[in-house]
């Protein structure tokens, strides 16, 4: 890469692809951004579809919480280096409590001698109180889902990049959001840096596509990819998280943190390009509609892949809102049978569990898996394992039960535990648990129904 080109690119590093990602991943990314010398930003994507609802429940228990639980662990090692080198940190780690996350980061900043750190947080995605969702259209992919929901836990709109761009323009060094379009987290610093307008569709598409490629962290650098002998990845225990180099015209190069494991090649990038995409000619984000059908990927160097040809169209008129409701309970019980004739003993245990549900009269919907024979690819009816022959070394029998009444669900799961004394010969290792479930339903809501606020304060003011 020439020096001239190096000076014209903006680098975006990703530090997390979900809540639960490797907490030491951001450190080599930030180190690489600093050594590269040019302008850059870090972003974190930690909000799955249900994560906001779980955070709301946490906030109900403790009003100070309800933000990303790993926030301090993720940010403590990088906050000071980023602040010293002018690298803004952007993340949706606000979850149900962006202001609470801002206070936590402010405390971290003061601890590290950064009382003037400018922290922004975005509010307004939470529309639980302000919008009556029954008046709005259900998102198409959810139309077939069971609409029999419990009480509402959360309802959040996927905001676009505009509030984050505003925060960056006002000098924010850390930008905290709740729900926002995941790709928008990476698009925001690009719009801010290059001054792209809302009509630069192809550039916006390139920026949003950059976010799409990076938002799952290691999934574009050899994570969720290795398949020994077919797709080999060096040092997967130290996979480097991704960095994109984007130029003002929307040119994209995907690479990764220096001196790390993992790999960036055409295969890793192609898999992530279509990840969670439906119609590739019409990928909708809150900022821009993306057409991937002309996209090409080219290996231009070691762990460097150029992505070209993305086209953009106008942003959607309405925003997607995901509502989460209490969804009853899930009980799971498992026990292992091993050694000679274990498949027959496992099938007998499955038969017995089915009879026990009837005998107990429990109001639950159940499914049985024979893990090691057929489970994740099977149907609720056990089509595959019923047909299975042969003799595995061991089989884990799993019962899953769902229902509205916690006690019924828990009693169903405990029937697996009871197999320890009442079950087939040679069973052991029983485990069971019952957890509350969240049901989601998405809607399309007019933009003007969603009122967004951007707050900004110094760390010293957020004591």
């Amino acid at each position: 890469m020439t020096a001239q080109k190096a000076s014209s690119v903006f680098r975006i590093g990703n530090g997390a692809g979900f809540s639960g990602d490797r907490v030491d991943a951001p450190i080599p990314v930030v180190k690489t951004l600093i050594e590269s010398g040019g302008p850059s930003a870090m972003f974190f994507e930690v909000l799955g579809e249900r994560t906001v609802a779980l955070a709301q429940l946490e906030k109900r228990r403790n009003p100070k919480r309800g933000y990303e639980p790993m926030l301090e662990r993720l940010l403590e090692p990088i906050l000071s280096p980023c602040a010293r080198h002018g690298i803004p940190i952007i993340g949706n780690f606000g979850a149900a409590n962006p202001a609470g996350a801002a206070r936590v980061i402010a405390a971290l900043a003061r601890k590290h001698g950064l009382p003037a750190l400018k922290i922004a947080w975005v509010e307004g995605d939470d529309i639980q109180q302000s919008v009556d969702l029954s008046q709005h259209q259900v998102y198409e992919a959810d139309a077939s889902l069971d609409a029999d929901f419990g009480p509402l836990v959360s309802a959040n709109a996927y905001l676009d990049s505009e509030p984050m761009v505003r925060a960056l323009s006002e000098g924010a060094q850390v930008v905290i959001t709740g729900r926002t379009g995941d790709p928008s987290l990476a698009l925001a610093p690009l719009i801010h840096h290059f001054g792209w307008t809302r009509h630069d569709y192809d550039k916006l598409a390139a920026g949003a596509l950059t976010g799409h490629l990076l938002e799952c962290g290691a999934q574009v650098t050899g994570g969720y990819f290795y398949d020994p002998g077919f797709k080999d990845v060096p040092d997967p225990a130290n996979i480097g998280f991704p960095i994109a180099e984007v130029d003002e015209h929307g040119g994209i190069v995907i690479t990764k943190a220096a001196n790390t494991g993992g790999i960036v090649n055409r295969l890793t990038v192609k898999e992530q390009l279509l990840y969670e995409i439906h119609d590739p000619s019409n990928y909708i984000t809150p900022d821009v509609t993306i057409d991937l059908t002309g996209v090409t990927v080219q290996q231009i160097g070691d762990n460097r892949v150029q992505v070209s040809g993305v086209r953009g169209g106008p942003a959607p008129v309405r925003l997607k809102v995901t509502a989460c409701h209490e969804g009853g309970y899930l009980g799971e019980g498992e026990v292992t049978v091993a050694g000679p004739n274990c498949l027959a003993r496992a099938k007998m245990a499955a038969e017995v569990l089915g009879q026990r549900m009837k005998i107990r009269g429990l109001d639950v919907r159940t499914r049985i898996d024979l893990i090691g024979v057929a489970s994740v690819h099977d149907s609720d009816a056990g089509t595959l394992w019923h047909a299975a022959r042969g003799e595995p070394a061991e089989v884990r029998v799993r019962l899953a039960a769902a229902g509205a009444r916690e006690d019924d669900v828990d009693q169903a799961a405990r029937e697996v535990l009871a197999l320890l004394c009442c079950g087939p010969a040679g069973n052991g290792g029983a485990r069971w648990r019952t957890t509350a479930r969240i049901r989601t339903q998405s809607y399309l809501v007019p933009r003007d129904a969603v009122a967004v606020k951007v707050h900004l304060a110094n760390a010293s003011e957020l004591a």
Binding site: S144, V376, S379
Partner: protein, 131 residues
């Protein structure tokens, strides 16, 4: 479209290398699955991009629908992204209610990429990857 597309054509590939063999899709292609609600998408890419038309002929939406029929799939659409030599299969109502309603251990359905890779295809021997 019925004859496998050959990248070299006149190039001197041996008869043995061009002979058709039946192998799991996994030996010639890679895939990744993702979910949204009760809808699954599985992308599919041949390692050797010259195999694209061969897979287009053999890995049809109808065949993928049959593969997921036991899970209650109601519709399968296949999108082609030729610039990436990729297919995207969108499979409706296959996740037993999706991650929030399913009793399946893998409520997201992410392991289904390897269910797709388990079907067999007939391909020239030269494109088969070893294990």
């Amino acid at each position: 479209m019925n004859t496998p597309h050959s990248s070299g054509g006149h190039k001197a590939a041996s008869h043995g290398a061009d002979a058709l063999v039946e192998v799991p899709l996994h030996a010639v292609a890679h895939a990744r699955a993702g979910d949204k609600g009760n809808r699954l998408n599985v992308s599919l890419f041949p390692y050797d991009e010259s195999l694209y038309d061969t897979l287009a002929d053999q890995v049809t939406a109808k065949r993928v629908h049959q593969l997921f029929a036991h899970r209650g799939a109601t519709e399968v659409r296949r999108y082609e992204v030729r610039s990436l030599a990729g297919f995207n299969f969108v499979i409706d109502d296959v996740l037993e209610g999706g991650v929030n309603g399913s009793l399946n251990l893998d409520g997201h359905g992410k392991t289904n990429s390897f269910l797709l890779l388990s079907i067999t295809v007939k391909v020239p021997r030269r494109v088969v990857r070893g294990g």
